[in-house]
């Protein structure tokens, strides 16, 4: 109890009469007991506990029925790393991250630099480019599985007009991942573009004007004024791109389900295909824990190294 009244002093509340003060303090405790528990309960029950339980279950060979009894230590982790497809899934996630950073973000930045200016059609184009982000991943995946369809798809018909044989991109281990990467760019570049546009619009134009008056070229202004001012947003965009790439799932399912022959799995589709759908709780949880560790390690390291001042 005393900690609350202590906090009241620290927070510099005006000292009304003692009775009122006490009433306010009691009210504070009662209010906290009303305001916080729902959020804490839901979050603990459905987010924190399952993570902890994943760590626990990953030590068992368990099909999810009854209670876990066959303790096998770290064997599930060994099994995960020994499964050939997991390495591919991990590599695919890295590939998605790379494409997001090397193609998607520069594309988004370029578009933002153009579309941050107001001209006829700029708002309409912004909305068009942002639209894919709002569409469901599943619908997006299905639209592109039509486009890639070797019999009816748009791509196949382009091939046919040139007299070439229509490809089945999604059915080949060579091309399935490539096809998915295009969809990833299609779906998410608008999101990053919007972040950049917002940052550009919040930017102090005087600095740009000053540089221009000082005789800086267009490129120099961009390179030495605009981009540095965008760094906080770029760092954030990179963060979103990496964390988003690590959890890609919904988009892949309608396109390939991770196939053919596990060639286009991400870590999450791998977790689903090899853990959830076969109810291998220990094995699946081990994958979950690995993914969790990767995400959290990245988030913490990145925040510490690149986002210290924010």
């Amino acid at each position: 109890m005393s900690q609350y009244s202590g906090a009241a002093v620290i927070s510099g509340k005006p000292a009304a009469s003692g009775a009122r003060r006490r009433a306010a303090t009691d009210g504070r405790l009662a209010s906290l007991l009303l305001f916080l528990p729902p959020a804490l309960l839901l979050f603990t029950l459905f987010v924190v506990l399952p993570i902890g339980e994943a760590a626990w279950y990953s030590g068992f060979n368990w099909n999810g029925f009854g209670s876990p009894t066959r303790w096998i230590g770290f064997d599930n982790y060994r099994f995960v790393f020994d499964t050939r497809g997991f390495g591919t899934a991990f590599r695919n996630n890295l590939l998605i991250i790379a494409v997001s950073l090397v193609i998607q973000l520069p594309l988004a930045l370029t578009l933002a630099l153009i579309l941050a200016d107001k001209f006829r059609g700029s708002v309409a184009l912004r909305m068009l480019f942002f639209l894919p982000y709002v569409l469901a991943e599943v619908a997006t995946g299905l639209i592109f599985s039509f486009i890639y369809d070797g019999n009816y798809g748009l791509l196949a018909s382009i091939y046919r007009t040139f007299g070439a044989e229509a490809p089945h991109l999604l059915a080949s281990t060579q091309t399935s991942m490539l096809a998915i990467l295009v969809v990833v760019i299609w779906k998410y570049f608008g999101f990053h573009m919007m972040l950049f546009i917002a940052a550009l619009q919040g930017m102090d134009r005087n600095l740009v004007e000053a540089a221009r008056i000082d005789g800086a070229s267009r490129w120099q202004v961009l390179r030495h004024v605009v981009i540095p001012l965008l760094y906080p947003t770029i760092r954030l965009s990179v963060f979103f791109a990496v964390v988003g790439s690590l959890q890609l799932f919904d988009l892949v399912m309608p396109l390939t389900r991770g196939g053919p022959a596990d060639s286009s799995n991400t870590m999450v589709t791998f977790l689903y295909n090899h853990g959830v759908s076969r109810m291998r709780v220990g094995y699946g949880s081990a994958i979950g824990v690995i993914l969790f560790v990767i995400c959290v390690t990245f988030a913490i390291t990145y925040k510490r190294w690149f986002m210290r001042d924010e």
Partner: protein
């Protein structure tokens, strides 16, 4: 005229030409798949193959009307709507109460609890999907709307609380102090002052939560068994499986399920973008 331009202009506008070409290229990249889907739904299967890009020769309205008249379509949308609405309402209530406490009530451990609650931003729900399934099963919520709704609320809390707290903090604290001195309770103030003043941010958080729920796939996939409970992303996958290569019907179905999303986007676009950029100030 180009005063506001960041990059500026040259007398000979070759750059302008490049810009227009570039924009047209990207616009085509985005628009062609969407238009092909919309128009493909109006074609016959045969025409889809022979005339993939053009307008339909005869508009096959029955592709669309058949779906619109089916119970299945409305059931899928209805399920998504029920799940989405409950998720939004619960998220708004639970998150705004917690955000209010963090914004206006000083207490020991406040920042620690806030970091605890916002940890959820760091990792995807998929990491613990199997234990979550077992938890939902043990609670008897499997194959029940709430088996999807409650985890969705839990996972949307982190971002929602951050956004709401920042907004609440900007409301004048003196108002609260005055109200408390006058004998108003924290809850009374929250209910009668904070919430009405916070409509814009509530709309933003609500819209974003709804879009996430409306589009979500993994949680319903794992938690629901009965097809009559399926939200539309699940239903559309089943539909595609059934009609495997009858793309004209599948495309019509996709278009019709995207319609609500696009309408929502048009009406709530301001709130979606606002939430995105507000959330972006600090991840």
């Amino acid at each position: 005229m180009s005063d506001t331009s960041i990059v500026g202009r040259r007398p000979l506008d070759l750059v302008l030409v490049y810009k227009v070409l570039f924009l047209a290229l990207v616009a085509a990249f985005v628009a062609v798949p969407l238009l092909a889907t919309l128009l493909g739904g109006f074609k016959t299967l045969g025409e889809l193959r022979t005339n993939p890009f053009g307008l339909p020769e005869t508009w096959e309205w029955q592709n669309y009307t058949g779906i619109l008249l089916s119970k299945r379509y409305w059931q899928l949308l209805g399920n998504s709507f029920v799940i989405g609405s409950f998720t939004v309402v619960l998220t708004l209530i639970v998150a705004s109460m917690a955000a209010f406490a963090f914004a206006h009530i000083h207490f020991f451990g406040s920042s620690m609890l806030l970091s605890y609650l916002t940890m959820g931003l760091l990792f995807p729900a998929a990491t613990a999907i199997l234990p979550l399934f077992i938890k939902v099963r043990d609670l008897g919520l499997l194959d029940n709307y709430f088996g999807v709704i409650l985890p969705q609320v839990a996972f949307s809390l982190a971002m929602s609380i951050l956004l709401l707290r920042r907004f609440f903090k900007d409301l004048p604290h003196e108002l609260l102090e005055a109200a408390l001195v006058d004998g108003c309770s924290y809850f009374g103030f929250f209910r009668h002052v904070t919430l009405p003043l916070s409509r814009p941010i509530l709309a933003t958080v609500g819209t974003i939560t709804f879009v996430h729920s409306w589009n979500s796939y993994l949680l319903p996939l794992v938690m629901l068994n009965s097809e009559q409970l399926y939200p539309w992303p699940l239903g559309i996958m089943i539909y595609q499986g059934e009609f495997s290569s009858e793309w004209h019907l599948i495309l019509a179905f996709i278009t019709l399920t995207l319609l609500p999303t696009i309408l929502l986007f048009i009406f709530a676009q301001k709130h979606i973008v606002a939430g995105l950029t507000a959330g972006a100030v600090k991840g």
